[in-house]
């Protein structure tokens, strides 16, 4: 029987695109219909539609599908394991005493946002490269300091992402593919370097982290020769109600539980160990950077696959939002303006006080957690407007712009659906659906810190530029 004759005898299920009442009329006739949430592809821009069409010509399409399949396989099969902690100067590739790594795509000091300038100058004081903040501004602008994105040194950094030589780093090794990713330690609290604060209390905390916390964690992990399987822990944290970007209660508990026996066995004093436990308990965020390093570790393994349209990096420097795409190897960034973050704020602050979207933490969404896994964290739905249904909606919607589901990391509430994995530049430009990002809000001025949290989206320009480049590149 031909397909047309099959249709004649089947129950009609129509997919309706365009005029919505056609769907209503079909439903009135006891047939099924699904109305699409449709917008013109590429925002209706002819050059983008042409690029999409080119990428969909059969021979090109085949190459892309094959490359993307490989890319998501590598993301999914990556097994990031925490193998240790050490100072950046000892482990981060290309790190020097005068290097300052920062979040997001490349940026020069003069163009940095308020919070990032605050963090950079604070770090220079912390490193002894300047005696005070005022001098630090001069040093930063002098040309004596090498600025580079964290991402270009196998690192990620939350918020301003400012990472300097003596800071302690997580060392996360990909047991499947061998690559290593790094990120520094959570400073906990709100008035902290990464949020742009840089007064003496901030420097004092950094000193303590360098002198006590870091060494204890380093020594503890030296005793743990198996390392800590972070993907397993992440999956568990999601089942316990974290989305592992803005809610880290479960993950932090799991992580410190895994570290504690080894911390106890280190040669530090009980008082120092007690300080470490108090510090970890002072904020749920302690494991936040850990999940970033895990995500970075998995996504780096998928970067540089010829013809792949999978996004391997989303990062912001407070001025620009940049993405990197697997098929554009190396450090090719596609950027657009950083956006506002909308969400609840600490008392006393208003939306006008907000700095623009900042930080490498969107690496978690790139991996499929954070905003993408909103459905695992009903406790924090206030971030996204208030209802659990909305939170679930975010998680299912992200499937529209991703390639597959990660079966290793699942969402119980959605029938154990795997997290949406492998953001595809083509799908983003095709649908106009932007990846949703849960994130913190830093004050726009240097020296103040965190003032709220909420959600934001990348600028569409970054994806449009990437699409055009890919369509030129893939033949």
């Amino acid at each position: 029987m031909s397909k047309i004759n099959e249709l004649f005898t089947s129950k009609i299920h129509a997919i309706n695109v365009g005029i919505e009442f056609f769907k209503d009329d079909i439903l009135k006739q006891d047939a099924s219909a699904t109305h699409l949430d449709w917008t013109p592809p590429g925002g209706g821009k002819p050059e983008l539609i042409a690029a999409l069409d080119k990428l969909e010509s059969p021979s090109v399409l085949e190459k892309i599908e094959e490359a993307n399949k490989l890319a998501v396989e590598r993301i999914i099969n990556s097994q990031p394991v925490l193998i240790g902690f050490d100072q950046a100067i000892n482990c981060v590739p290309g790190m020097t005493k005068t290097t300052i790594l920062h979040a997001g795509p490349p940026i020069t000091f003069d163009k940095m946002s308020g919070p990032m300038k605050g963090a950079v100058t604070g770090a220079l004081v912390f490193e002894g490269l300047a005696s005070d903040i005022e001098e630090a501004y001069e040093v930063a602008a002098s040309g004596a300091i090498t600025f580079a994105p964290c991402h270009e040194h196998n690192c990620v950094g939350s918020m301003a992402g400012v990472t300097s030589a003596s800071m302690y780093m997580h060392i996360v090794e990909n047991k499947t593919y061998g690559n290593i990713a790094y990120t520094n330690l959570s400073e906990q609290m709100a008035k902290i370097l990464r949020m742009g604060a840089n007064d003496q209390s901030v420097i004092d905390r950094l000193n303590w982290m360098r002198d006590v916390l870091g060494p204890i964690l380093r020594d503890a992990m030296k005793l743990n020769t198996n390392g800590i399987d972070l993907r397993l822990m992440l999956a568990q944290a999601l089942h316990m109600g974290d989305e592992c970007h803005n809610r880290n209660v479960a993950g932090t508990t799991l992580l410190i539980q895994a570290l504690t026996p080894y911390i106890l066995e280190t040669d530090f004093t009980t008082e120092q160990k007690r300080q470490v436990f108090d510090f970890v308990a002072s904020s749920d965020y302690f494991s936040g950077p850990t999940w970033m390093a895990l995500s970075k570790c998995a996504l780096d393994a998928a970067h540089g696959i010829e013809n792949s349209t999978i996004v391997t990096t989303m990062a912001r420097n407070g001025v620009e939002f940049g993405i990197r795409v697997s098929g554009m190897a190396g450090n090719t960034w596609f950027t657009g303006p950083a956006q506002k973050v909308v969400g609840p704020m600490f008392a006393g602050y208003k939306p006008e006080d907000s700095g623009l979207d900042i930080g490498d933490s969107a690496i978690t969404e790139t991996y499929g957690i954070g905003g993408f896994a909103m459905a695992t964290a009903p406790a924090i739905v206030a971030l996204v407007g208030g209802t659990v249904d909305e939170a679930i909606g975010f998680s299912t919607k992200m499937k529209e712009i991703t390639t597959t589901e990660n079966p290793n990391v699942t969402i119980p509430l959605l029938n154990f659906m795997g997290i949406a994995t492998g953001i595809d530049v083509r799908k983003v430009t095709q649908t106009g659906i932007m990846p949703v990002i849960n994130t913190a809000i830093a004050h726009k001025d240097p020296g103040i810190g965190m003032i709220g949290a909420g959600i934001t989206y990348p600028p569409v320009e970054a994806f449009e530029k990437a699409l055009l480049a890919l369509s030129e590149n893939i033949n």
Partner: protein, 514 residues
């Protein structure tokens, strides 16, 4: 300015909810500043930083909820506490079921395996792209959108043909598949007559007449208006005929179209010739001889076609009310018209209905003008000004640029009607009113005030204004068919029972000297 503190011991809220509540609390009237937070050291730090620290706050435990309000007076503080308490106890009542929303045809098709058809009505600039996606995902397509290039149409139809899928359209206004009407369709009985139509309202008319004669429709396949052009070559109509031939539920096939391009006509006739089922052909203004030669059943007009089809299914002719033309009525109207009132003005929503009435008029008159006349000589000089016998298709691109179709928005036709009604050379104004899915909920009703007013005006001027109305619809349509007729009749409008009769009556009213 006073600061008041309320500590709720052992009350837990997560920090994000509290941030949200704080934001709302700061909007409470009279509040200078409000902080709602758990009694952690970090939160106490925040309170200290903004200068609101009090001994109670200092004492609060991690498990206590702290509410700190700064306002001009104690009373305002108290009021704020009441409002904040309401916020704390307010449950979010939104319980909208989280429905999965798909954004692309591909994702919907892949997630809904039972999906079998795409109905596409997006802007023409994007329509072909979406149709291609649908075909790629093995969906049959009804493409309602117009402004799709003929090259794209050919590509889509060839692709669909290769895949064995329906590619109805572009510019396909109607279809009935598996008894489900799509876009502009009438509710008709399920039956054993299959229609393949290149003209939307023509196909609707055919389905409605068949229903009226007691027959029913198995499938109505729309092809889009250009399918039988030289370029497209009738790909969809040929596939449609084959599919209906292979459909056990179909006994008789009816084709509806304007006359095809010669090369395409050949192909269609060849297909008819080898078809094992009877084929009724209504090609408006088409050639009877060739059709008969090919073994087809030719119909010059729509009602005639419907009747032939119903009889071919074995219906008892003696039991069918054929609604013959009302000759006494013709004479009656003729008697009311003066010699000056000699022109027909046809104001149509349906293109084929317009065509049918126009062809009827052209049999008797030479001076028939229209915005859809093929012969440029008889194309209206100004589509907004009628000449002698004039037939306007308000659904044509001339009138729909940037506006909804007249079946949805009747305003353009109402204005034109008022204009025509004042013209003393007009003998009859004929109009169609299309019911069914997609159409206006009360098409007669929206025209009624204008018709009543025009009738009164004509009466004051001492002339008869003949208005002839045809309602395309069935007793099953969602609009009340009988009520629509009653409204017409009550307003003194003559009701025609079919498109064919409307065309013939209009013509006969103004024909002289027979």
């Amino acid at each position: 300015m006073t600061v008041q503190v309320l500590i709720k011991p052992n009350t837990y809220f997560d920090s994000v909810s509290l941030m949200s509540l704080s934001t709302k609390a700061n909007q409470v009237e009279g509040v200078e500043q409000a902080i709602i937070a758990m009694g952690t050291e970090m939160n106490k730090g925040v309170i200290r930083n903004v200068g609101l620290m009090t001994p109670e706050v200092e004492e609060a435990k991690t498990s206590d909820l702290m509410i700190v309000v700064k306002a001009a007076t104690d009373e305002l503080c108290e009021n704020a506490f009441v409002s904040i308490n309401e916020l704390l106890t307010k449950k979010n009542t939104s319980s909208s079921k989280s429905e999965v929303k798909y954004s692309t045809i591909s994702s919907a098709a892949q997630s809904i395996p039972e999906a079998n058809l795409a109905v596409i009505s997006v802007n023409g600039a994007y329509a072909a792209r979406e149709a291609k996606k649908a075909l790629e995902n093995d969906l049959h397509v009804m493409l309602f959108s117009d402004n799709v290039s003929i090259e794209e149409e050919i590509e889509l139809k060839k692709f669909a043909h290769e895949k064995g899928l329906l590619m109805m359209g572009p510019d396909c206004g109607t279809a009935i598949i598996g008894n489900v009407g799509l876009a502009f369709a009438n509710a008709v009985r399920k039956g054993n007559i299959g229609i393949v139509g290149a003209s939307g309202t023509g196909s609707q008319e055919m389905s409605v007449r068949i229903h009226e004669f007691g027959g029913g429709i198995s499938q109505l396949i729309g092809t889009g208006g250009r399918d039988l052009s030289e370029e497209v070559g009738g790909i969809m109509m040929l596939d449609g005929i084959r599919a209906l031939e292979n459909d056990d539920a179909t006994k008789v096939i009816v084709l509806v179209s304007k006359p095809p391009a010669p090369s395409v006509e050949e192909k269609i006739l060849a297909q008819i010739k080898q078809c094992s089922k009877p084929v009724v052909v209504w090609f408006i203004g088409g050639n009877e001889e060739k059709v008969t030669e090919a073994g087809g059943h030719f119909a010059k007009m729509s009602k005639e076609g419907a009747l032939k089809a119903v009889l071919l299914t074995g219906a008892d002719e003696s039991k069918i009310n054929k609604k013959a033309l009302n000759i006494p009525l013709v004479n009656e109207v003729r008697a009311k018209l003066t010699s000056e009132q000699k022109y027909i003005r046809g104001l149509f929503c349906g293109g084929t209905l317009c065509d049918e009435a126009m062809y009827a008029a052209m049999e008797k008159f030479d001076n028939v003008y229209s915005n859809i006349q093929k012969n440029p000589e008889y194309h209206l000089k100004d589509i907004n000004v009628s000449q002698e016998h004039t037939f306007i298709d308000f659904g044509d691109d001339d009138f729909t640029q940037g506006k909804p179709h007249p079946m949805i928005d009747p305003s353009a036709r109402i204005e034109r009607f008022k204009q025509e009604a004042k013209d003393p050379s007009v003998g009859v104004i004929v109009m169609d009113f299309v019911l069914g899915f997609g159409s206006h909920e009360d098409p007669v009703g929206v025209m009624l005030p204008a018709m009543i007013e025009a009738k009164q005006l004509a009466e004051q001027e001492g002339r008869h204004l003949e208005i002839l109305g045809y309602i395309l619809g069935t007793d099953l349509d969602q609009q009340n068919y009988q009520e629509q007729i009653d409204k017409l009749v009550a307003a003194g409008v003559t009701h025609a029972s079919s498109s064919q009769n409307a065309g013939l009556l209009a013509r006969e009213f103004v024909v002289k000297g027979e």
